[in-house]
Symmetry: C2
Subunit: 194 residues, 2 copies
Amino acid sequence: MTRPSTKPTRRADAQHNVERILAAAVSCLGRDPDASVSEIAQAAGVGRVTLYGHFPSRDALVEAALTRVLADGERLLAGLDLTGDPRDALRVLIGSSWLLIAQSSALLEAAQASLPPNRVHELHAEPARRVDQLIRRGQAEGVFRADLPATWLTSVLHHLMKGAATDVATGQLDRAEAPRLISETVLAAYRVGG
Amino acid sequence: MTRPSTKPTRRADAQHNVERILAAAVSCLGRDPDASVSEIAQAAGVGRVTLYGHFPSRDALVEAALTRVLADGERLLAGLDLTGDPRDALRVLIGSSWLLIAQSSALLEAAQASLPPNRVHELHAEPARRVDQLIRRGQAEGVFRADLPATWLTSVLHHLMKGAATDVATGQLDRAEAPRLISETVLAAYRVGG
DNA sequence: ACGAAGTCGAACGGTAGTGTTCGAGTTGTC
DNA sequence: GACAACTCGAACACTACCGTTCGACTTCGT
């Protein structure tokens, strides 16, 4: 009778499969926002019916995958020390998270196609705020240019990371070089004094 | 008998409809790369069957739309004077073509989903070359930084224009401000001396 | 080793898009 | 004004995906 009263005692391998499905969903939807349920199930090495046994609909799966990857992002960002020079902080941030952010951005696109907009927004509001605050701090300290709105600067960062990701996907760019190119470009763009 | 022997004398209103369909295709696919044939036909104020009377398949329509908008881009770029200071030239280029390029970039996405990759590449190779050459000239003249590959700098320009377009579409950015923000950002990113 | 929980493939109904055919109606062109 | 070109809606077959049901099979937990 060791039942915590809230958990209906899920079986171990079932939980394991949920994990594999979620991982496959993140991977597949990160590549193709229109990936089908069959694709994801196959990538997870699991039957389609099994997938529907754990997630009631495709939308629910997309939301779960988005929640998962955003939670990963949150944890990663929370573990970073972003208190020093904003430029160094930005370099650290890009180096350690550009791939994840790019992937989550692709997943975000998948979500926007099938989820209510406010739900999407509230999910990724928190990690986005972290980046935004770093940029605003840089502006306040006079290290980043303030003649352009902070929202635009954050947007620039996102679009460049996403763009680099697609360049890597199409083979135009070497994955290992991406972080350096992004950092160099963004820092130059943020620099004060025109 | 004023028949140029190559033209089977298409009727005037038919040609007019082709024009409307093409315009609708550019507009619709520029917004949503997955727009259906019905949507496009409706936007053109034309029956779906009529559309198929002029274009044998959706793919053919996509290719025609892409060809059209790229031809427009070519003509526009050819009409610009890009021989002066590369910085001024870039400003001119962005100001007069960012919307078109952003739209064609969305259309390009639609094309990549349904056309053979090499066909897509050869279609947009020419206008892309113009931008690329401007950037390389700027590098050669020491005005643009040369410590990053020219392909990446081109990519940055594309991604920022595309990103600005999506920001405008989502209401995060005022359309009138976009050219200035793009120019300021790109020129800062291209600047020599880190 | 027994039962419950979980998995799986096959198959079904529903929806949405593509591409085609048909027949009737319109409209440009000579 | 007459004929050919064009348009259009309805309907059809085909494909792909979603979500569900069923029954047989496997595997975990005790």
